[in-house]
């Protein structure tokens, strides 16, 4: 799939927007940093969330990290398959490893995100450190 069509956050999440619905996952860089993912706690469909809320919990063998939504809206779908195959996030972060879908209520929040080129530069900056 085309990464060029995605938006990215500094927290290494990706967002794909189609018809006002944002599909959210974590980037390849994030899944590598997290290591082997063994458990994902998902929100419920219908939950409303504000920007900055933790909308999911991703646990690798050694660490737990929250997925903070960078968008406000309502959860319209969750990737239930991750309950049995959380490793999909490692193996296919941009496809089978998607986490939640949100009906966006504040479209302007998308403007704060990076496009693919900007994200690549951002990553290059991190790796230099």
């Amino acid at each position: 799939m085309g990464l060029e069509n995605l938006k990215f956050t500094k927290e290494h999440e990706w967002v794909r927007v189609e018809d006002g619905i944002a599909t959210i996952g974590v980037t390849d860089y994030a899944q590598k940093e997290l290591g082997d993912i063994v458990y994902v706690e998902l929100p419920s469909v219908g939950d409303s969330i504000a920007k900055g809320d933790a909308c999911s919990n991703i646990e690798s063998v050694k660490a737990v990290s929250d997925l903070y939504s960078q968008l406000s809206g309502e959860i319209v779908e969750i990737n239930e398959g991750l309950e049995d195959t959380p490793e999909n996030i490692n193996q296919s972060p941009y496809d089978d490893g998607w986490i939640v879908k949100i009906k966006i209520s504040k479209e302007e929040e998308l403007n704060e995100m990076m496009d693919f080129e900007q994200y690549k530069l951002y990553l290059a900056g991190i790796e230099k450190e």
Partner: protein, 363 residues
């Protein structure tokens, strides 16, 4: 940051480096799960040079080691090792350790990296009145652990010593890759394996690790990091200082009475422990697995009958047992296998139950 003499090899093998107790060490190479399961099925290679080694030598070496540790040192024969406790006057842990009986009048004590300085000072203070010299030789030794079912096959490629008949918790002196070494049938993973202690500079130590890693490929033995070391020892039900054992839980409470020998003359902590044994303990370390989903980690609150009793001492997802497992202290009347209790995971109460340790089936 301190570097082991194998440090260069970790960078060459692209280990993911972290700071651990002041040391620059790899937390993983190819991935924690892969490394963990390699050790259970084929083998893994660890740099454990950060461990501390202290030599007790002299006329009263036996008496000194016996006085400061909990196990019965006089039962050891040269070439034998035992697990033991370095205890406080209250019967709690200064550290846990391995005691190697090198020869008459000489013992090597292997302690945790994080505690080395504290332990060494404690040993000098508490055993100073014996006719014994106590020397910290930690900087002289590198240590590589080869763990897993194929570890003997790999080691045999690099030594002429007959390692096959070696029994668990014994050691021999021999050459590995032409370097004088202590070859020890020990480990912290619950698997068949060896720990190799040797002296030598960075060049020798890094070469040893890299050549073992290279040859190891033939046997499915891969470099492994601190992450797998921790999940492996936890699946094997082994205690970690700072988690299961510390200076506020006694050796009896930690379920380690098998390394506590009262019939051996005086030792630090004896009176308190004898009394506690007579009166009975009120809490005990147990292994648990989660009944509900989630992962209980170190420090998460543990609830019994609606009240907080303590915290999870260690907890993880066990990559081999494929369960969410951990250890904690529980009131003694709640420690029967199958007893359920609660753990608070991010503001949610999750049910756990007491299970037998080790979590892996050691046959």
């Amino acid at each position: 940051m301190k570097k082991t003499k194998i440090n260069k090899a970790h960078y060459e093998l692209k280990g993911k480096m972290v700071e651990f107790c002041g040391w620059d060490l790899p937390v993983q190479y190819s991935g924690l799960n892969a490394e963990h399961n390699a050790v259970r099925t084929t083998g893994g290679l660890f740099d454990v040079s950060h461990m501390g080694e202290v030599i007790f030598e002299g006329k009263e070496a036996l008496e000194a080691v016996s006085y400061i540790t909990s196990n019965n040192v006089s039962k050891l024969k040269p070439g034998k090792i035992h697990y033991s406790g370095l205890l406080t006057e209250k019967g709690c842990f200064v550290d846990d350790l391995l005691v190697y009986f090198v020869e008459e009048g000489k013992y090597m004590l292997v302690v945790n990296a994080a505690n080395l300085e504290k332990d060494f000072n404690w040993m000098k203070e508490k055993a100073g009145h014996f006719d014994v010299s106590i020397t910290n030789v930690s900087d002289d030794y590198s240590q590589i652990a080869i763990q897993g079912p194929n570890s003997g096959k790999l080691l045999a490629k690099f030594t002429d010593e007959d390692i096959d008949p070696m029994k668990y918790y014994t050691f021999i002196h021999g050459r590995v890759m032409g370097v004088d070494a202590i070859i020890s049938r020990t480990g912290y993973t619950g698997e068949y394996g060896f720990e190799i202690y040797f002296k030598g500079d960075e060049k020798i130590a890094s070469k040893m690790f890299i050549e073992l890693a290279e040859k190891g490929k033939e046997f499915g033995i891969i470099p492994a990091g601190l992450g797998a070391r921790d999940t492996l020892r936890l699946e094997a039900g082994m205690a970690l200082y700072g988690n299961e054992i510390d200076n506020s839980h006694t050796i009896l409470e930690a379920n380690l009475s098998w390394i506590l020998k009262f019939k051996k003359g005086d030792f630090i902590g004896k009176d308190v422990l004898l009394k506690q044994k007579e009166e009975g303990i009120t809490r005990k370390l147990i292994g648990f697995e989660l009944v509900d989903r989630g992962i209980a980690r170190h420090g998460y609150p543990v609830f019994v009958d609606g009240e907080q009793f303590g915290e999870v001492t260690s907890g993880t997802y066990g990559p081999f047992v494929k369960k969410s497992i951990g250890m904690t202290y529980l009131p003694i009347d709640k420690t029967d296998i199958g007893t359920e209790f609660q753990i608070e995971i991010r503001n949610k109460m999750v049910t756990a139950k007491v299970v037998a340790v080790p979590f892996i089936d050691k046959k």
